[in-house]
Structure formats: C-alpha cells, structure tokens
C-alpha cells in the first residue's frame, strides 16, 4: 500500500505555476518574519495582544483552515497517461491537478448530467427516458452517484443521511478529543505541569492565549469535516451545477483563488508602495512631486475601468498568442496573477499616500534628526529608522485589504474581468447561478454555497483585522 503510494507520487510530473511559487514565497516570508519577530520585544508585544483577543484568534483558526485548503491546492502536478510514446517516453494528462483534488477524490469524479439539488437523488430536469417496457416517459431520472446506493430513496434517504452525519460527526469529535488531548499534553509538558492542571486552565480560559475558544473552533471544523467526509461520497451536499459538477467541490476549489487574490495582490504592490512612499516622504523635492503625480494619475482612473481595460487587453494578448501556455491551467494562472498585479496597481496608491504622510511626520521626529546629526546616510535612515516605524501601517493595510479583495474578486468575475472563466471561483459560481435566477423553481444552491464559503472567510478576515488594528494602531491605544 505504502509502496503503491510512493510509486504513484513518483510517477507524477510536478507543475509549478507562477502563483504557486508566489504563495510558497509568501509562506516563507511569513515564517521568516515570525522567527525574526521572536527576538524583538516591540514586535512581540502587539502580537501578544492579537493572540489574547478571543474574536481575533477564533477568526485566525478559521483563516488557518482556509489557508490549509489553499496550500494543499497549490501543489500542482500532472498524472501520466497509460499509453506510452513510441520511444517509451511518458505523456502526461493536459489536466493539472493538485493535492487537494486527490484528497477530494470522489467529489471531483462524481459528475452528474446536469443540475441536481442538495442531497437529491434525482436530476433537477426532466428527461425522456426509455422505460424497460420499451415506452418512453419524461421523468426525473435517478442520479448516477447522488444517493445511488439507496434502494428506495423516498423511504431510506432521511434515515441514511442522519446516520451518516451522526457517524461522521462522531468520528470528527473523536479526532478532536484525541488531537486536543495531544495538544494539551504537549502544553503541560512544556510548562512542566500535570496534565489535569493544564487541561483545567485551558478549559476555563485562564491561559494568556484563548486556547479554549480556538480549540472549540477547531472542534467545530473537525466535526463538520467528519460529517462532510462521510456524506460526500454518497450525496452532493450542495447539489450539482449545470454540467453536473459537484458544487461543494467547486466551492472548496475556489478557496485558493480567493486567498491568492487576497494575499498576492498586496504582496505584489508592497515593495513599490513602501519604496515610493518612503522616498516621497523623506526625500521630498522633485522625487515627491514625481511620485505624487504618479499616484494621483493612477488614482484618477476609476479602478474598475483600469482593471477592465487591463484584463481585456491581457485576454486579447493571450488569445492572439495561444502557443505561450502549455496547459489551460497555466493560462488561467497567468490571468490570475495578472489580475493580482493590476489590482495591486490600483490599490497601491492608498498605501503609498499613507506611508508618505507618515514618513513626512516622522522625518521631523527627533530621532531622525539625531541620526542626521551623526551623518547617517539617507539609505540607512530610510531602512533602519523609517521603515521599521511604518511597518504597522503596512500590516494594518494588508489585513484590512484582504477581505475587500476577496469581495472584489466576486464582483470582477461577475463583470467578466475577473479570473479565467475556467477557474473555480466564487465569483464565477455566482455568475453562473445568476443566469438561472429566472428559472422556476430557482436553482439556489450554487449561490448558497458561494455565500456560505465567502461569508465565513470574509467575516473571519474582518474580525482578525479588527484584532490586528486594535493591537497595532497607536491611535486606538491612546484612550
């Protein structure tokens, strides 16, 4: 079994998409920062405040779950084809899949013919079926996978769903108890306390970090995962879409798109905003005039029009140069990356202006003057004195922008200038479902799935950014 696994994985051809590389770079940057911050009290103190906030940490767990999904979905590869080439060389599928696709196995494969409602056993559209007696009738045919194991869906479905949810929930709960137990045991060992004492402290919320709230949140997700895992192989929990694909699968696959847009956009724009903002505020003079001109000009173009123009132009470019990309995934990925860049260009100006203002204020601060009196060079004043003192603004902006960007993706995809139509995204899901609004009875489940997944992520991001802002914004602690 293990050997099979190893053999399977070694047969794959890894694919590194541009956004994958950037995502992993981002993870590396965050990890490096965490290591760096450990030694710096002034960095640790505000983070401690974030860690102590209950709402913020519950939100952090939620975000972590989404991030884990997105990371799994960022390891891409292509499977080998059965038939080898003439000289024994291996060909690979055109389809690029990820670790997440492997994990979601049945969700990806179990494709129905067309729409079906959540937990349905029959299609949503009537079809002309040839009956065994040779006559034909227009009926709702049984689904190929959803509830296919039931003999009499009308009789068995409710009980089966209940049974499977409960057993799944039970399994999730068991996992939770075991994992939390290991976690608390680890904490107890580090603190050198008996297990019970630590457990009591964690459960009563006496720890500095609100572990109990975080554990309960993690528990909620584990139970949910357990239920989904035990149901997903037998039902389409969120139904299927027009081409019969599982909506839950689409919603989960969309997580990566949202997170990539939410994080890479700021990552892409950050170096420019920092460099230009600091230079404009510190050097003043013609540098300031030029940078101000630059961002006023960019800012004066209505954001959505700039994005629309740029994306349209990119699309024309891609369409007229089809040979540039090996796979569809690579093409869609390029469009995603470009969307991040152009979104970054439009949101760059706000941060740059903030940084410029703050730098101008700080330029007059006495510690900067003292450094000038020592003949410290401009480059060092900017990097050592100004940069560390504006980083909190950067952080607040980054977390604050995240949720706005996730929401923006949906709107842009709706307008038609978002991610590639072939890419899974909540915006594309909504866009697809919108066309079915007029249908009676309505096809609502794609909307519901997109709504739930988006709402949870954006709400968590908003709560987390509140916690970060409370901790880092000097204005909030003055009172």
């Amino acid at each position: 079994m293990l050997r099979d696994g190893v053999a399977y994985f070694s047969s794959l051809k890894p694919v590194l998409l541009w956004t994958d590389a950037l995502v992993f770079m981002l993870v590396a940057v965050i990890a490096a920062f965490a290591v760096y911050a450990r030694g710096k009290e002034y960095l640790r103190a505000p983070w401690r405040k974030v860690f102590a906030s209950r709402g913020g940490m519950v939100a952090a767990v939620v975000i972590a779950v989404y991030a884990a999904v997105a990371l799994l979905d960022s390891v891409h590869f292509r499977e080998p084809l059965e038939n080898k080439g003439a000289e024994g060389e291996t060909f690979y599928t055109v389809e690029v899949i990820s670790l997440l696709d492997l994990a979601l196995g049945p969700l990806r494969d179990q494709v129905e013919k067309t729409y079906s409602a959540p937990f349905a056993t029959h299609l949503y559209a009537k079809e002309t079926v040839e009956l065994p007696d040779g006559s034909s009738a227009r009926i709702f045919p049984r689904l190929q996978y959803g509830g296919a194991h039931l003999e009499d869906p009308l009789r068995d479905k409710a009980g089966d769903i209940l049974y499977r949810s409960l057993s799944g929930a039970g399994a999730g709960l068991l996992w939770w108890v075991v994992l939390s137990g290991v976690f608390v045991w680890g904490m107890a060992r580090r603190a050198g306390e008996p297990f019970r004492a630590t457990l009591r402290k964690v459960l009563s919320g006496e720890t500095a970090i609100p572990w109990h709230a975080m554990l309960y949140t993690a528990g909620f997700f584990l139970v949910l995962t357990g239920m989904i895992a035990s149901l997903a192989g037998y039902y389409h929990i969120f139904g299927t879409d027009k081409v019969g694909q599982d909506v839950l699968y689409q919603a989960i696959k969309s997580v990566r798109t949202a997170l990539v847009i939410g994080t890479l956009t700021t990552l892409v724009m950050l170096p420019f905003a920092l460099l230009f903002g600091l230079m404009a505020g510190y050097l003043r003079g013609w540098v300031d005039d030029l940078i101000q001109y630059l961002y006023t000009t960019l800012n004066s173009i209505p954001g959505i029009l700039l994005i629309a123009s740029a994306i349209l132009m990119l699309q024309v470019y891609i369409d007229t140069h089809p040979d540039l990309f090996e796979t569809d995934a690579a093409r869609a990925d390029m469009r995603l990356l470009f969307l991040c860049i152009i979104l970054g260009v439009t949101s760059w100006t706000g941060l740059c202006r903030l940084l410029r203002g703050e730098t101008m204020k700080m330029r007059a601060a006495e510690f900067v003057q003292a450094a000038s009196a020592f003949g410290v060079r401009h480059s060092r004043i900017m990097s050592r004195h100004l940069l560390p003192n504006v980083m909190h603004i950067v952080l607040i902006t980054v977390v604050l922008d995240f949720s706005g960007l996730v929401l923006a993706e949906a709107v842009l995809s709706y307008v038609g200038v978002g991610v590639d139509p072939s890419m899974n995204s909540w915006g594309n899901m909504i866009n697809g479902a919108r066309l079915e609004m007029a249908r009676d009875p309505m096809v609502w489940w794609s909307l519901l799935a997109a709504f739930v997944f988006m709402f949870v992520l954006v709400l968590a991001a908003n709560l987390f950014s509140d916690a970060v802002r409370d901790a880092f914004d000097p204005r909030t602690h003055s009172k």
Binding site: Q369, A370, A371, S372, F374, G375, R380, R384, K479
Partner: protein
Amino acid sequence: MSEILLSVRGLSTHFLTQGGVVRAVDDVSFDIRRGETFALLGESGCGKSMTSLSIMRLVPEPAGRIVAGEIHLDGQNLMDLPEAGMRRIRGNRIAMIFQEPMTSLNPVLTIGEQIAETVRQHRRLDGAAARGVVLDLLDAVGIPDPRQRYGEYPHQLSGGMKQRVMIAIALAGEPDLLIADEPTTALDVTIQAQVLALLGDLQKQTGMAVLLITHDLGVVAGMADSVAVMYAGQIIERAGKEAFFRDPRHPYSRKLFDSLPDVGKRGHQLAVIHGAVPSLAREFKGCRFAERCDEAWDLCHEQAPRWYDQEGGRQVRCHLLDPTLAARRPASHAAPRDGTGQAQPCREHGQAPLLEVENIKVHFPIRKGLLKRTVGHVYAVDGVNLSIARGRTVALVGESGCGKTTIGKAILQLIRPSAGSVRFEGDELTRLRGEALRRRRSDFQIIFQDPFSSMNPRMMIDEIIQEGMVALGIEKDAAARRSRVEELLDHVGLPREARHRYPHEFSGGQRQRICIARTLAVRPKLIVCDEPTSALDISVQAQILNLLKQLQNELGLSYLFITHNLSVVGYLADEVAVMYLGRVVEYGTVQEVLEQPRHPYTQALLSAIPVIDQTTRREVIRLEGDLPSPSSPPSGCHFHTRCPHAMPVCSQRYPQSTALSDTHRAHCFLYGDEE
C-alpha cells in the same frame, strides 16, 4: 454656611489598563475653604489631574472609575447625585479650565457661541441677554474688542487668548469653585504672568475658591493660600502656604525645593531625588516615597505612615514626625546619599572661541502659486552673532517661536542657514558639503528636548549608542565599540545591562541619559542642548543638570544651552543671549543679564518668572499682547509693539548694538545707539 466649601474624603479613582489596575488616586482627602486658593502640587503622573476630574465626576469611563470616597460641596455629597443632577453642578457651581487651551476649545464653534452655551445652560438667558453677558465676560477676562472676537474661531486666537476664553467659559456659570488644571503650563512665561494675574484679580472680584493644580513651586508661591503635596496617588503633606514655603516637612517636599536650580546654587551639585516616580499599577506596602528617600529606614519600607498633625493645622505623612518611631531609626541613615553641596570649581579653559556664529540668518520661504513663487519669508533667525569658548556654556533664552531652536539646528547644519557664517575651530561649516561635512559631524552634536521621541523605538540601546560611531567611523572595531558603549553607560550612570533593552523600558530621565551617552560616543567638542530638561519632572531635571555639569568639567565640553527656563540658565550658563523674534536683544555674562537686565524685554521676562521667595519678587512688568508673527515682524525694533518704554524712534529703525560693558551688549535705544 460653613467655612468649608468643598470637602473630599477618602477619594480613590482606579484605571483599568493593559498593565493592570492603576490606582491613580488612592485615598485622598482635603478641604477647600470659601474664596481660598488651594494648590495641589505634584509631578506628572502623581494623580493630581485625576483628582480634579474625579471632583467633576468626569473620569473617562469605562476605563476609569471612582471606587471610593465622598465629595461634599456645601455639605451635599456629589457622589450621591444622579448624572442629571451632577450636570447642574458642572459649569455652574464648579467650573474647570484645562492645561491645553489649544485643544480644549471646539474648533468649529465661535468663541462667543462656546461661552454663550454655558450662559444659556446655567443662567437661563437667551438671545441678546446671553450675548450681553458673553461680551461682559470677554471684557472681564481682558480680551480686547469683544464684539469682534465674539464671532471668531479659536484658531484665530493665540494660546494666551484661548486660555482667557476658557476662563470666560468657566466664569459664565458664576462658580463657587474653579478648578484650574495646570492652567499656564502650555504658555510662555510672559503670557503665564498675564493669565495668573487675571486669575488672581477675578478671584478677588468674585470671591470664588480656586483649586490650582500645578507642578510649579513658583506658581504655588505666587497664587496659593494653602498647599497639598501629592506623590504617587496620595497626598503626603498639607499646609498653609507660608508655613510650607518656610519649612517643608516631608522629605519629598524638602527635596523638591533643594533640587530647583538657580543662580545661588552655581558651582554646586543640585540635590537630586534618585530614581523616578513609581508606577501606580503596583501595590504599595510601606511609604511610597521610601525607595527614593535619603532618610528612609526599614520601617518606611514596611509600614505606610499615618498622618501626623503638626502645629497650625498642617499635616505630614512621614514616620520621621513620630518622635518615638524616629528615635528608633538607625543612625547610619542620617547622612544623605549624594554629595549635596559638594563644591566643584568650574575649570577655566582657553578663551579661543570654539564656535563663532556671525550674522546668521535662517529664512524659510513661503511659497504660493502655480510655480511656487516665493511670496514672503518667515524670518526665523534674522542676523544673530554668537561665540562659544571651549569649556563654556552659552545659554540662548527666549519664548517659543523666537527662533532659538532654529539657530541650534542651523549651527549643526541640520538646517542650512540662508546667510551668515558658522565657524567651528576656524572652519566655515556653511561651505562644507557632503562627505566633508559628514566627517566634521563628530565635533558638534545635539541633545533634544523630548527623550521619548529622540530615540528610535525600534532600536536597542546598544545600536542607538553605536550608531554615531559606526556612521562616523569613530571605532572601527566592533569589540572596541562594545566596550565603549559600556564605558559610556557607566559614565552617564546607567547599568551596563541597559545595552540590550529598548528605549520604552526606561523612564524620561534615564532616556535623556542614554541620549547624552549617544552624543558622547562620537567625542564631540560642542553639544547643542535643546531644552534638554523641559520635558522632565523637577526631581529628574536636577539629575540631568548635574550630569551635564559634571561632563563639562571632566571633558571640557562646550554647551549651547537652549532654554526658556531662566533658573536653569542661572545655574548652568556662563553667558546668556536673550532672543526676541529671531534676533538677540541682549547678550552678556549670567551675572550681568540676570542681575542687571537692561533690555526691557529681558526685564519683563525676568519679572514674569514666578519665584518661590516672595520677598525677592520683582514688580511684574506686564507685557501686553502676544509675540508678533515672524513672517511679518514689526518695523524698527521688533519689541516696540509690546515695550513699556517705546519711543517714536523705536518703530522707525532697528537699534544697533550698544556695549554696556566689555561683555554686556543690548539692542535698545534707551542706551544710545552707536552706529
């Protein structure tokens, strides 16, 4: 009606902060009699402002809360009143003015409207009647042309005028008690004199009582009838003013007097109170002052002293005043820990000037229009001559906005002068550029006013002190630099472990020591000290002044000491330059300028300083009006608009320098005009 107007009993106000509960006010009791001025004296953070807000029940909730105590106004306990009832007290029976007149007025309402609001609220007057009252009030607080001012906004008034408006608001309800929370701390000394005089006059007219909250012993001496000294959330001494100034009893009160710098203490070390005010977030067991007290013994650390009644109704909270306890005090504690009064003769150094500043000008252009044409200038510094000899201290004195800080920065070439010359050891600094200037920077350094903003909060002390050495290549070797940092920390009296900590972990005084160490690291010959002690409490100020003096004696440093505090000048400086609106109006040795001031401005400045010893008090020369704008200085002598001796010629041309002695010069037509 009883004689007591306000009686505070067992007042405790707590604050919930990140660091735990701060007991800002802890069991405070005092009485204020009708018509008297009661001064609450204390250093920053001792809880005196919070006491006043508690009386008004304006403690910012929910973080702050009055947890215990009674406040009786004419026998009525204010703590029992509902919020609506308390509103009838505020502004009506008890009024309050605050420290910052700049921010305490609503920027978008006219001043007339802001005063009228109180009139309407408490006197039930409306329309024309209210307007009449407001105009009378504006007149009463000495605001010229009330009709015109009625419709103006706060930003159109100067700081002193704004504080007058605040006083008018306070008077609008005809209060029985006026709480004045550091009413003149944000104002210049000549304006302070105006406002204090106004408060005194108004009190005489209306017979209201005043609760004066201040850190300034001079203000207390000039204004108060009785005094309460606050320390770390508690009152530790209560006395009539005369008795208190004749003979302060609590060791803390005594030390406050001793640590004040003045001319009489020249050549001596100032007495200091060690350490800093303790954090109020912790629990106290013994006397709160014990840690910093020279006379404390074991008992002081273990048991909090009770009140000891003294003659004349005065009370002191100190074990020393209990004869039985004091008798048991171990003898070894009798000697003070520091060398108060140790005479250290000032070393005389060579008279060759280290720094010569000639006719230096700093004009900031005011730019307007499409092409940023220069339409005018702010004449921040307008032709100043100075020279500083090795090992000497020249003080630059003046009110805010007179350009004294700009001169300091212009000498260091942090601001490039528009004209004039700055020669340092014969080298013309204004002509040095780039690398050549950078190499000279180690010779002249600067210490700033605010020790909180003069160090990068993101850097460790080690890096802060090393920065100059690295930038100027003083010590190339890292190990040598490290040992030099330790040496410097020793020198300024900080533990070596301080190297690995961040600025926020230190108190104001300690930070200022670090700043001094940082400048010393590059072995400067001249240090520009820009108000280095004005952000510090009196007890800490003395520590820094002593250190500066000691360093000068040991290292032969020269100081350009920029300050508005004339008593510091008297203690530290050799020569004084008095500035008014970008120009030096009088220059001479400390004795000459402080004892025989000749220029009317210097005379007014000196007379305006509140002094402790009321017998030596000069007749206050009250200056009318405010400092004119440096972008359009008055014609002729800049001071003629406010000068009591102004003559026709004064408005026509600027007086040339008149030599009054070899070392004493003044720019004034009263003493002739040598051309």
